[in-house]
């Protein structure tokens, strides 16, 4: 009995893998050639955000969308409310299924490219995010949590849905796509997926994706690792460094004052 269940599970697993790999690959006949520069961002000491140039050679179609997305996250936020005449933090709101980053570029308005159902199915646009992200709180929700959450993330640059894609005609009934995706310095290190969708009269013709990774290196990596994995040592080092800096500056200034007098 157990053996049968194992075999059935293995068979179902293989079907799932086969289906998903088909979905991630090219749907149409003409393959898409794409490039992501850089596809690996190194966050060093002087890093202050960057731009990723996404280019592709695609078959001619009448709507193109590029989506950069991070993994889903759960965050806890404070919500302000009025207590008598004062604005105070009155509740905590847990936000679930919210991508770490969501950057969307399109060749036209999404409504002109594909139907709402298609946007929902592919996770394109703010309406699809609204349905996906959930809010929980110990106090009653006020209804505008999504808009407020969106403003917070748009302010930091983590969510951006107003990027225009440039398309130029290319040889053989194809087009050259070029779009620059802004990567703010607040975008956390990790793996991101950039997906490209080509639509023809509202139907998805082609879909492909590329990976983007962000990684801390050098001093930022050393500090983060020490702070997380050797917290006591890090705390003591921070105190000693600060005290040494204070004493050094004190000695330097007293020597200068002595020389001046």
């Amino acid at each position: 009995m157990t053996l049968r269940i194992c075999k059935a599970s293995l068979f179902l697993g293989l079907i799932c893998i086969a289906t998903s790999s088909y979905a991630n690959n090219v749907i149409g006949e003409n393959p898409i050639k794409l490039s992501v520069v850089p596809d690996h961002i190194r966050v060093g000491t002087t890093y202050h955000g960057t731009e990723v140039l996404f280019e592709a050679n695609i078959p001619r179609c009448n709507g193109v969308v590029v989506k950069l997305e991070g993994r889903d996250n759960e965050v806890t936020l404070n919500r302000k409310g009025r207590v008598a005449v004062l604005w105070l933090n009155v509740a905590q709101v847990i936000v679930k299924n919210a991508p770490q980053a969501y950057i969307l570029a399109a060749s036209d308005k999404l409504a002109n490219i594909c139907s709402r159902e298609m946007q929902q199915r592919l996770g394109l646009g703010l309406e699809s995010l609204r349905k996906r992200i959930t809010f929980e709180s110990e106090k009653p929700l006020i209804g505008s949590e999504f808009e407020e959450f969106l403003r917070l993330n748009e302010h930091s640059g983590l969510y951006n849905t107003n990027i225009q894609i440039e398309l130029k005609p290319a040889a053989g009934d194809r087009e050259e796509l070029s779009v620059t995706l802004p990567i703010p310095s607040v975008m956390p290190p990790g793996e991101y997926v950039i997906q490209l969708y080509c639509f023809e009269h509202g139907s998805l013709m082609q879909k492909t994706e590329a990976q983007l990774s962000i990684e801390k290196v050098g001093l930022p990596l050393l500090i983060s690792t020490l702070a997380q994995e050797h917290a006591a040592l890090y705390g003591i080092a921070a105190i000693i460094i600060a005290m040494m800096a204070g004493i050094t500056m004190g000695v330097v200034f007293s020597l200068r004052a002595g020389r001046g007098s």
Binding site: V43, G44, T45, T46, Y47, H48, G49, V75, T76, L77, N78, R79, K80, V83, V85, L86, W87, L88, N89, V90, V93, I142, S144, E145, E148, R151, L152, H155, S156, S185, V186, P188, K216, L219, P220, L221, I223, S224, A227, Q228, A231, A232, Y234, G235, I236, A237, A238, I239, I241, A242, M243, A245, G246, I247, T248, M249, G250, F253, S254, A257
Partner: protein, 310 residues
């Protein structure tokens, strides 16, 4: 100018180096001048440049260790630190800090922490700022008027209580004789308030030393910095160990500015009259109070914020 940006690994953002150096210089200057750590001023400024509240408060405490070491060293060389008084205040501060942390835990469980923290901030800043301002203005009046008024005023209840306490000792540097319970009790009270407000407590400690312990202003500044140093060493370690929120990069850049600023401030502090110092500090305290009060009264620009701030 791109190379002048620095990535802050714990805060997870990048900022212009000159911005952090400038903020450090300004706060270090105030620290050396008035004997305050500057946390009540710098933490909100760090939050304004996009650093999360928990990282801002923890990293600020770390840089205050540098500024207050530098300031204490400068004041010690000038003979302005009463170590006997400072140690008693530190002991009181540690007891008060521990009590305050427990109080905050209870308030958070009841759901009133945010209200109590903000109201304590505004009320304390308001009382201290107004009192210092009035007192300093009074002292700017002609001597004859002041002496006549002083003669009419009876001894306050606080002075009578203070004299009634046992174990009186002489504090040579401050030139006063007090019961050891006075600095211990007052240190505990300031410790409770600093734990509630999440600051080093220098801006509360300075008026307490001036008006309640009756210490001379220049000794107050040096001794306050000595007390703030120990408070912030404790906060830095706790924040690093339990919350992993100390950003060494933020602290390093701030402390480069603040240690220099503290030295300049300490020297200017010695040249200014005590009333001039008090009136400037009172004005800063009142400005921060007004800013906080407006933040509580005006409609916020964003209704959601990341957890961890006041």
């Amino acid at each position: 100018m791109a190379h002048l940006y620095v990535y802050l690994p714990i805060a997870g953002i990048s900022v212009h180096i000159l911005l952090l150096l400038g903020l450090g210089l300004m706060v270090g200057f105030l620290s050396g001048l008035f004997g305050v750590g500057g946390g009540f001023l710098l933490t909100p400024l760090l939050m304004m440049i996009g650093i999360s509240p928990t990282v801002a408060a923890a990293s600020d405490a770390n840089q205050i260790v540098a500024a207050s070491t530098s300031g204490t060293y400068a004041h010690w060389r000038l003979g302005n630190v009463d170590f006997k008084m400072g140690i008693l205040l530190v002991i009181g501060g540690i007891i008060g800090g521990t009590l305050g942390v427990q109080l905050i835990k209870i308030l958070r469980a009841v759901g009133n922490a945010d209200f109590v923290i903000k109201i304590t901030y505004v009320v304390m800043l308001g009382i201290i700022g107004t009192y210092m301002f009035q007192e300093s203005l009074k002292n700017l009046q002609p001597r004859g008027v002041l002496q006549a008024r002083a003669g009419r005023e009876a001894k306050s209840w606080f002075a009578r209580c203070s004299e009634a306490l046992p174990l009186r000792i002489h504090f040579t540097k401050s030139g006063i004789t007090l019961s050891i319970f006075m600095p211990l009790i007052l240190g505990t009270m300031v410790g409770v308030l600093s734990a509630i407000m999440g600051v080093g407590g220098g801006f509360i400690m300075v008026p307490v030393m001036v008006y309640l312990l009756r210490m001379p202003m220049h000794v107050v500044v040096g001794t306050s910095l000595f007390q703030v140093l120990f408070t912030c060493i404790n906060v830095t370690f706790m924040q690093s160990y339990y919350n992993h929120t100390v950003d060494l990069m933020v602290a390093l850049l701030l402390l480069v500015g603040s240690t220099s600023g503290a030295q300049v401030g300490a020297r200017i502090s010695n040249r200014l009259r005590a009333d001039q110092l008090k009136i400037i500090l009172a004005s800063i305290v009142l400005l921060v109070m007004i800013k906080m009060a407006l933040g509580l009264l005006l409609h916020p620009s964003m209704m959601l914020s990341y957890k961890g701030g006041h």
